[in-house]
């Protein structure tokens, strides 16, 4: 009986607990998506800056035209 139990345990395969590596799984995904999110944030920030620049420049040109007239 004990021999059979041993045999069954031995036949389980290389890893008994697939959840042992869950920390790495989480870390991997978190880091990956932090990078993705960082890019999205950078896109949004650049967009905002450019919009502000355009407004300011258009304002400058407008003022200039007004004073010229």
């Amino acid at each position: 009986m004990t021999a059979l139990t041993f045999l069954i345990i031995l036949m389980q395969g290389p890893i008994s607990d697939p959840n042992a590596t869950n920390n790495y799984l989480l870390l991997g995904y978190v880091v990956m998506w932090i990078i993705g999110a960082a890019y999205v944030v950078s896109l949004a920030a650049r967009q905002r800056n450019v919009r502000q620049d355009i407004e300011m420049l258009q304002q400058l040109l407008q003022d200039d035209e007004d004073t010229a007239v």
């Binding site: 790495y24 890019y39 896109l43 650049r46 040109l61 200039d64």
Partner: protein, 253 residues
């Protein structure tokens, strides 16, 4: 202008990307089979491959845009190239980092220079990062587009060689997955690198992989559209700047 119309389509695309990524995440975490030798951390593989594959596609798109630009020099092709390289670089970064984290429990080290694949992918990353240094060093817009296009064509050779070496170099550490067919998966099982029960589990793996690739493709499309739109704004700002400078110089003289 066409800004409002762009806004609506862009928003749809953004939502589509978000939805497909979420679905893919669910699939990878719950539907994909559990691997036997290393446990759940193997699930990183799906997004790792998805990012790497779509990244390579992004660089290929850049190559095509570059080639077309050389034939027909128009700003829009240069914009497509810049956007594609930028996004491709982000995807490649994600793939490298994800691969490194996956590698830690699998090979017991964060990095492994003797892995030919890791090394060549890093080289590809450096090559495309240098693309932006080249662009930064050229002031003339036309020359910048031309040189950038030539460089992006030459740089794709590094991508080709990376993927060729992954395919053919006998690197026990980095498993070969091309296309994700059942035979390739069973081949891996034979190498004891990734082990699944044959049959249903292999199919589930294939489906999960495809889901990831589709999700990243949507993400690529969404990011491309946004990046190109950003570039248009930046060009307009540069244009306005020139006019302001010209106006000021006119006033001074």
């Amino acid at each position: 202008m066409e800004l409002t119309r762009l806004n609506r389509n862009v928003r749809i695309l953004n939502w589509a990307a978000f939805v497909t990524i979420s679905i893919a995440l669910l699939i990878v975490f719950f539907y994909a089979p559990t691997e036997r030798t290393m446990g759940n951390v193997q699930r990183i593989f799906y997004f790792h491959v998805g990012a790497a594959w779509v990244g390579a596609v992004a660089f290929f798109v850049a190559l095509v845009a570059g080639a077309v630009y050389l034939r027909r020099p128009s700003k829009k092709w240069d914009t497509v190239a810049v956007a594609s390289v930028e996004i491709g670089l982000v995807f490649l970064t994600m793939a490298i980092v994800a691969g490194s984290v996956w590698g830690k429990p699998a090979w017991n080290t964060w990095w492994n220079w003797s892995s030919v694949r890791l090394t060549t992918i890093t080289i590809a990353w450096l090559t495309y990062a240098a693309y932006f240094m080249l662009r930064g060093a050229i002031e003339d817009e036309e020359k910048r587009g031309r040189f950038a296009a030539v460089y992006v064509i030459a740089a794709f050779v590094t991508i080709l060689l990376s993927y060729l070496s992954i395919r053919f170099v006998n690197d026990l550490l980095h498993p070969v997955v091309v296309g994700g067919t059942a035979e390739a998966l069973e081949g891996q099982a034979a190498e004891s690198l990734q082990e699944f029960a044959p049959g249903v589990e292999s199919t589930r793996m294939v489906i999960s992989l495809n889901a990831s690739v589709i999700a990243f493709s949507f993400l690529y499309a969404a990011w491309m559209v946004n990046r190109i739109r950003l570039q248009r704004f930046m060009d307009e700002a540069a244009n306005l700047k020139m006019r302001v400078v010209a106006r000021l110089q006119g006033e001074l003289s």
